[in-house]
Symmetry: C2
Subunit: 335 residues, 2 copies
């Protein structure tokens, strides 16, 4: 690295109305900073693109403070240490952390996590071994409380979180039905990931298909998408069913208010509950999930798939793939 190296950043220029547009972003270039005491300089190699990013772009109270106008866009990332002033890190170490949508990051050592690329390639630390992995693990096991023999339905089943939810549920002895947006994705979750059934929401009657594939009702519905599919799940709940609200990607760009679940009184009829969670609350237990996921991975019990798009400058367009559902697997931008 020479002193003329530039750090490129995507900053939030405007709060989007509906789908984020190119003009909602500002691409900025500045000299790479020097790390101070206990800091490291990281060359960001992979940037995680997550549905939650859309929420971070909105003003107003949420589970995390919004990205402000003019601020670096928040993102999970993985890369290589270029310089280290922190005793835990050496040049060449592979690390992950929330370094944002930029090519070079100067961060406190305490905010970086060393990763083992013998266990899995770097992008996996943004998916199966990263936030999506933690999200699936705690959402399904702690919030959903899945038990052997139960029926689990997961939406966005071929996505980063959904694919893991289904595989962990299978490992726990559940019957698993995935919902995805193409026959190719459906084949993937049944043939590759071992789900018991899949529903192609773009080409099937989801309500009827749920009824058919879940003859005893749904014990755990892990929802990543919201909208009408949530209503169908409510209508197909089993007694004492649990709906885990992980996200609502179908609604994040709605400009006229979110779809509201008409069938919520099914919660009363079925003595059921609907519960939201935020993975950050489990930070003090990430180690437990990371170990379980790494063990399953090294034993070949879980599979993962990344959808890697190259070119830092393609960030704005690549993010839109999530909302179109055109990614297949964990969406990652390669710098």
């Amino acid at each position: 690295m020479s002193s003329t190296d530039q750090n490129r950043q995507f900053r939030l220029a405007e709060r989007p109305q509906g789908l984020p547009k190119q003009s909602d972003w500002e691409l900025v270039s500045e000299a790479v900073a020097e790390p101070g005491n206990d800091e490291i300089l990281v060359a960001v190699e992979y940037i995680s693109l997550d549905p939650a990013m859309r929420g971070w772009m909105n003003a107003g109270k949420s589970y995390i403070k919004p990205v402000e106008i003019g601020e670096l866009m928040r993102a999970g990332t993985a890369g290589t240490v270029l310089k280290s002033n922190h005793s835990d890190f050496a040049e060449g170490d592979k690390v992950s952390g929330n370094f944002g949508v930029q090519t070079h990051a100067v961060v406190a050592g305490k905010d970086a996590r060393k990763v083992d690329t013998n266990l899995a390639e770097l992008p996996a630390y943004l998916g199966v071994l990263g936030m999506p992995g933690m999200t699936a693990y705690f959402g399904l096991l702690d919030v959903g409380g899945v038990a052997e023999g139960e029926t689990v339905v997961v939406s966005a089943a071929s996505g980063a979180v959904g694919a893991l939810v289904g595989q962990i549920a299978k490992l726990k002895g559940a019957r698993v039905v995935g919902i995805a947006g193409s026959s190719e994705k459906c084949s993937y979750v049944t043939d590759e990931l071992g789900f018991d059934a899949a529903i192609d929401y773009k080409n099937e009657n989801v309500y009827k298909a749920m009824k058919e594939h879940c003859p005893k009702g749904i014990d755990v519905f892990f929802d990543n998408v919201g909208g009408e599919i949530l209503d169908f799940a409510l209508a197909n709940l089993a007694l004492k069913g649990r709906i885990v609200i992980c996200g609502a990607i179908s609604q994040y760009n709605a400009t006229e208010g979110m779809y509201a679940p008409k069938n919520y009184m099914s919660l009363l009829v079925n003595r059921a509950r609907m519960e939201g969670f935020v993975v950050f609350d489990y930070a003090d237990r990430y180690g437990e999930a990371a170990k379980a996921l790494a063990d399953w991975l090294s034993e070949g019990k879980i599979k993962h798939r990344e959808d890697i798009v190259e070119g830092f400058e393609n960030f704005p367009d690549t993010l839109l793939k999530l909302f179109e559902g055109s990614n297949f697997g964990k969406l990652v931008l390669k710098v």
Copy 2:
């Protein structure tokens, strides 16, 4: 009683569309039956009118089987034993049970419960010491899991369940805000029942009033009404808040689908849950609740109020008072 005595019954004639009409009922008169082995004959004196009755009149799967066309309408009741062929009961005993909307009931002794009219008058066994009491107790304590210092909001606060929810919450050390439909009802819950505040939903901006009276957010929202008020509560939830879905009286007569809660993603933002329950599931613990409620009652720690309408034949019109909100306290029909 002479052999010419008649039992009068209200039977369901038609499934109502919207509010039940006179023509949805059939008033039938027949000779009073003789009790068989282990049966008793009860002169029904008080009939409980409950919001849940509206749901029982609909076809389709619910938490209890619907009342069929031509069947006696289901209802909680209290009265006096006229004849007994069961060793646990003697003529003159006061009893309660689900004997239906009729003046004379022949029932199995096991389906009747002897009550103590020294502790409270007979109608109280349809309210504070009956199903509404059980509902408030288990809904607030088991489903809501209220803790000392928390903020509880209850809708239909002057009603049979709501009034108790608030008083039990106060006994548990919570701050309590009630929502009711007139200034008179609001004064009752604050001045008589000791709630910390009340919101008159017919004359106040409920969203703003909730914000004002719950500066730290709502920890437990006990919902009897549904509709917009549920949405306002979602918008005012505290972190880890619990919404207890007990009923949705504002929506039971909706002919174009129920109001759907737009703000359900507040469950995610606040890591909160919304859970439904049915009091019948707690049948094996009714004794615990009955004892607690009777103790509080005899110690003067809880108050109750019945709104008693006279005349068996007035059943159809009296039931409508619930949906108009024109009752004040537990609505009971005196035969």
